[in-house]
Subunit: 436 residues, 2 copies
């Protein structure tokens, strides 16, 4: 921890540069967090695992991840939280409630990152949640409900920590490899969990009154439309297929255009169709072909076989059904026109998880009360909140990502937007606490 | 050689099964080759390097290639030819002419194959040429011009033997790796050439009166239209480009459809455009995209960069110009519509090689005289004849490839078509010999 304290001191100047201007601060609402402190902690966290060339990296179960966790534990203790690590390696910081027997309000996010990631995905919500408790502590504001800050471990490697809490993490998953090089089992032990008692990390339905997560949008719509706050409607479902297209490999010089069975031409038409189907329907659904392989893959041989991946996402399962129906119809026409054969093999089928209407309204009302513009948005990325959504009411507060860039060193959210989001989080907690 | 003689005996039964029926033979024209012997030698050659699973393989500079060459030399000697190997490793079989000082008529092809190839590409023309000389010897028919049978070495690995004869093979090429695992230099030595004296393999303009090559079409047009003989107009030019498409890699779940810079979508539209441009213009031009790579290549990341290869072929350079102009115009529109950047880098620029009008007419007349249907066709594949076209008048005789399949174990040309082609070759040689 001494290292991290040093970092924080050294980084004070940097953090001050990032902080909001006095004029902006003067517009702060009555219930507000300490913007300078929040941004200072974010900057300090960003230094942990930072690579001057490749960007930010606190990949779960690496030394950098562990150092980041230690830094977070330090500022959680400074905020007066009682810190513990559950058997899955999630970090909890608890603040008691004034009224005995009430379920907890939970807030938090994650501090692990992808390789070559940014310093906003997860960090904004983690440091934001800690700052909310620090603000409450300084204001000597007691809540009726216990307040729990949670920092989920290994969000980027498949929501491992939050899935342990919701009971979705299976014993057999523990042998899986992770990006750190360690197995999930060894990784959990490395960060202080106990993989032999993983089931004890599970939280029961009823233990949590509600969960709020502040997060950067990772998409560009709030930034493009200059909206302060996104009120998340839900985390989109995700369906994925491997598509295999069989044509006939033949000589590119000697096979007339009208006698070809070109699997790559068929694939090109399918890629275009997938895009058209998603872009032409009303709604915020997305469809992507991001991977493709053509065989034999030579300049002078017509492709005999292509495999590609289709990824569909939407908040509505019915709309994903409709998209895939249309894609299959288009594929049948393409197959007939190109004398190729298509085979679809589904490999992912994650259902959408909707946020709780009551908590969503609390977020929207809090944003309005603080004079922020807001709009309902889907979360296109997976989130720890979707695991918690299986055992408790959830809501998410999105703040703009500049140009929608995420999972890259260029990821950026403006300091004022981070502060705004943390203030909405604080007010949402206060409002939920006042409800029955 | 004793091995191969054994093979030939053992294979007699197989060969007989492949031979033309008596009724077909009764329709043979006056000048005709020995169909049974031709087909027997082809079958025997096919056994050399044959893999029961993968197909036919006499890859240049392998043991199978050398065994195939030994078998060919045996039947060339049996046909009364004086056999020699030039410094490049090409096999020559010479028959003297009756009139002193005349240039040679040359006929031949190659017996090396691609890995997992067929037994027709090259073999039909090689065994066909040897059979023509055997037929002339048996008929005690003297030609005015010397007749040379040539079996070019390593056609499939870049026309190496014929390029040595035309003077195109450069000293520095000898260090290049070949499919056999040997360098070109070591490969040439392996088959009895002398890579230190490669320049001596060169033939001068004027030494050859004309060159005829019998070959399978490798494309499907003769087979589809039930035409007996293709009179080759020329060997198409070939232009190739590496195309790089730059978009922006972003999250497939969080990036709205209308904010994407999807390099794979742009690539798909370019593949479609390349096909449309070639298929919509009148003529026999072809255009192919056979290789593609999308990065980072993940299901859930919009492709930020795609590279692909474009291959254009036609007999007319102006038509290739027109195709590429249109492709570039389409690419510019696609780039604008998808917010991507295209860069074209040309890597191959082989000019078309036209056959000689006089020799082409001899082939067409010979086919007509033998009551075969014929039509002018381009050669979409590269051919040894194109090297020889730089130093002598050339013509090629194509026979149908069933379903246009080539460079694959399923490659097949009907026995009757092979026999027809060899008879056209024989008559063409006789006609050219009679000319001044």
């Amino acid at each position: 921890m001494s290292n991290c304290a040093c970092c924080a001191l050294v980084l004070l100047v940097t953090a001050s540069l990032l902080s909001v201007s006095p004029s902006a601060r003067s517009q702060q609402p009555p219930a507000h967090i300490n913007a300078d402190r929040l941004l200072l902690h974010m900057t300090a966290m960003g230094e942990i695992g930072k690579d001057p060339v490749a960007g930010y990296a606190r990949v779960a179960y690496t030394d950098a991840d562990r150092q980041g966790r230690e830094y977070a534990i330090g500022i959680m203790r400074a905020a007066g939280l009682a810190v513990s690590i559950d058997t899955a390696g999630n970090i909890y910081g608890r603040r008691p409630g004034s009224q005995p027997g009430l379920p907890s309000i939970m807030i938090g996010s994650h501090i692990d990152s992808v390789p070559q990631g940014g310093n906003y995905d997860g960090v904004v919500g983690s440091i934001g949640a800690i700052e909310v408790t620090q603000t409450l502590a300084e204001a000597r504001k007691d809540l009726r409900h216990p307040l729990e800050v949670v920092l989920f471990q290994n969000e980027e490697g498949g929501l491992q920590g939050s899935r342990a809490i919701s009971g979705e993490l299976r014993e057999e998953d523990l042998s899986n490899a992770t990006r750190s090089g360690k197995s999930l089992r060894d990784g959990i032990a490395f960060i202080g969990g106990d993989p032999t008692r993983i089931a004890e990390a599970r939280r029961k339905r009823g233990e949590l009154f509600g969960y709020f997560e502040l997060h950067v949008q990772q998409g560009g719509s709030l930034d493009a439309e200059k909206i302060d706050i996104g009120v998340v409607e839900g985390i989109v479902g995700n369906r994925r297929w491997d598509v295999s297209i069989e044509g006939f490999a033949n000589h590119a010089g000697t096979t007339p255009m009208n006698q070809r069975r070109d699997a790559l031409l068929a694939a090109a038409r399918l890629i275009e169709a997938v895009n058209r189907v998603a872009a032409s329907m009303p709604g915020q659904q997305v469809a992507t072909v991001g991977r493709i392989e053509a065989l034999p893959g030579a300049y002078n041989v017509i492709a005999g076989k292509v495999t590609l991946g289709i990824d569909l996402r939407d908040l509505q399962a019915a709309r994903m059904d409709a998209m895939f129906d249309q894609i299959q119809k288009d594929a049948a026409q393409i197959a007939a026109a190109t004398s190729t054969k298509f085979a679809f093999h589904q490999i992912v089928d994650d259902q959408p998880v909707l946020t709780d209407p009551r908590l969503r309204k609390i977020v929207a009302d809090s944003a309005a009360e603080l004079k922020f513009t807001s709009k309902p948005v889907p979360s296109g990325a997976t989130q720890d909140a979707q695991s918690i959504g299986h055992i408790a009411p959830i809501a998410m507060i999105f703040v703009p990502s500049v140009a929608g860039i995420s999972h890259a060193p260029q990821e950026f959210t403006r300091p004022q937007d981070i502060v705004n989001g943390a203030n909405v989080l604080l007010l949402s907690v206060l409002h939920l606490d006042s409800q029955q």
